[in-house]
């Protein structure tokens, strides 16, 4: 227990901050993922073959390639790409981009591919009559989407989105390889300096379990809220 004390003697406060970092990265990644899903879901549902191909390419490649490989691409390629752009503007110094942003972006792209599939499935399983009805009523496109399609889509998508959230949360452990101090990285540091890896990695596992448990509780409440009347 001494090892987990707060303050200078233990790792309690460090691990607490690291847990907040994991939550922050997961949330940022999830939001970035939603933005990607917002772009790619219409592409996947589009009748245009070319747009369709782009949408399918994104979800197939990202879901078929290991997360770690995607993270390495961003970790090693991210600063290179930005330096290339900067060099066009005459700036030739080394630029290191923020580990938080690179990590969130890499995980966000992965999470986005899963979210895209979830949204696509949800929209496709909405009753066709709903689309026709809102057309017949002469609703404008924004009203059609936000008032008719989206509320129904969210209800159908929520159970699967909770899976995406779990995947995203667990994937953030992988960005510890880039040096961002989240739960895994902090446990690695603590395990190295105390030579007690079993304790710290088990504690890390416990923290992840706690996070998944709490988020499940929260999502279940949301699900109840959105399935009112069903």
């Amino acid at each position: 227990m001494e090892l987990l004390a707060f303050g200078k003697t233990g790792w309690g406060d460090e691990l607490f901050v690291a847990t907040l970092m994991t939550v922050a990265v997961s949330l940022t990644a999830m939001i970035i993922g939603f933005l990607f899903a917002l772009i790619f879901t219409p592409l996947k549902l589009s009748k245009n073959k070319f747009l369709n191909l782009i949408g399918n390419f994104y979800t197939t490649v990202i879901r078929g390639v290991p997360e770690l490989l995607v993270i390495y691409l961003f970790f090693f390629g991210g600063s290179g790409a930005i330096m290339f752009v900067a060099s066009m503007f005459g700036y030739n110094e080394y630029i290191e981009i923020n580990a938080f942003l690179t990590g969130s972006f890499a995980i966000g792209i992965i999470s986005g591919a899963y979210s895209t599939e979830v949204f696509r499935g949800a929209i496709q399983s909405i009753d066709k009559g709903q689309f026709e009805a809102s057309k017949v009523l002469g609703l404008k496109k924004p009203a059609h989407f936000f008032k008719v399609i989206m509320p129904q889509m969210l209800r159908l998508a929520l159970p699967n989105l909770s899976n995406v959230w779990q995947i995203t949360l667990k994937d953030t452990s992988l960005i510890s390889v880039t040096g961002l101090v989240e739960i895994m990285r902090q446990s690695y540091i603590a395990a190295g300096s105390t030579r007690d890896p079993l304790f710290f990695y088990s504690f890390a596992a416990l923290l992840y379990l706690l996070l998944t448990f709490l988020s499940m509780k929260l999502i279940n409440k949301l699900e109840l809220k959105y399935s009112r009347g069903f």
Binding site: P66, Y188, P197, L198, A205, Y208, F213
Partner: protein, 225 residues
């Protein structure tokens, strides 16, 4: 775009793919037995056995695979009684540690897939078997298991693909699998995009093969419909 690098790194990456495939097939093999065992335990009516099996799958599905590998590879070596036992012959090798972690992980997911497959078998099939006077054991092996396998094929196909991606974590415990070699080439040449295209292409090709194999099996065993 450095095409020379792509061509020269291809054989190295292909070589590393062999390790990835070995890790995948061994962990799936052991994982299937673990999964079947825990699926049967989950269906047991004894609440203690039942809860134990549920706890197993909850813990392994609720924590990242990376933590599981680290606990087994770094953590278990710390215990004196493990280091002095025969288990140490296996546990000192990162290769076997990775396989143990993968097998336990995929076992947890497989147990969930099989459990739901067992639960969705129509009671009529079992009743039909019983009324024909077939013993419970044979009903289980000849009726329930084949139907459950057919039912769980699509979900299990997804699990194989997830596990294929999961084997990339073996690179974090010094194994030179496809991702490990790809990372090595990236960090020595600083050409991430080229290497990503080749390594990612190999992974995608394997995913494609698995996907089609499962589709073929689904068609072959769709006698129920």
């Amino acid at each position: 775009m450095d095409f020379d690098l792509m061509i020269t790194s291809f054989p190295k990456l292909l070589n590393a793919t062999l390790i990835t495939l070995k890790l995948l097939s061994l962990s799936l093999f052991f994982g299937l037995f673990i999964g079947l065992l825990f699926a049967i335990l989950r269906l047991n009516k004894n609440p203690i056995i039942n809860k134990f099996a549920y706890g197993y799958s909850y813990v392994f599905r609720g924590t990242p695979l990376l933590v599981q590998i680290f606990i087994i590879y770094f953590g278990l070596g710390q215990l004196e009684f493990i280091r002095s036992s025969i288990l140490w012959i296996i546990l000192k090798e990162p290769y076997w540690c990775a396989i143990i972690a993968f097998a336990l992980n995929t076992g947890a997911y497989t147990s969930e897939i099989l459990r739901s497959a067992f639960q969705t078998i129509k009671p009529g099939f079992i009743e039909a078997g019983k009324s024909l006077g077939i013993s419970n054991k044979i009903i289980f092996y000849k009726i329930q298991i084949p139907i459950a396998i057919r039912q769980s094929l699509p979900a299990y196909g997804n699990e194989i693909i997830l596990m294929l991606k999961g084997t990339s974590l073996a690179s974090t415990v010094t194994l030179m699998d496809l991702t490990g070699v790809a990372k090595y080439i990236i960090s020595t040449t600083f050409k991430p995009i080229e290497v990503f295209i080749v390594a990612g292409g190999i992974y995608l090709f394997m995913t494609f093969l698995i996907h089609n194999l499962i589709k073929f099996l689904e068609k072959k065993y769709s006698y129920l419909q």
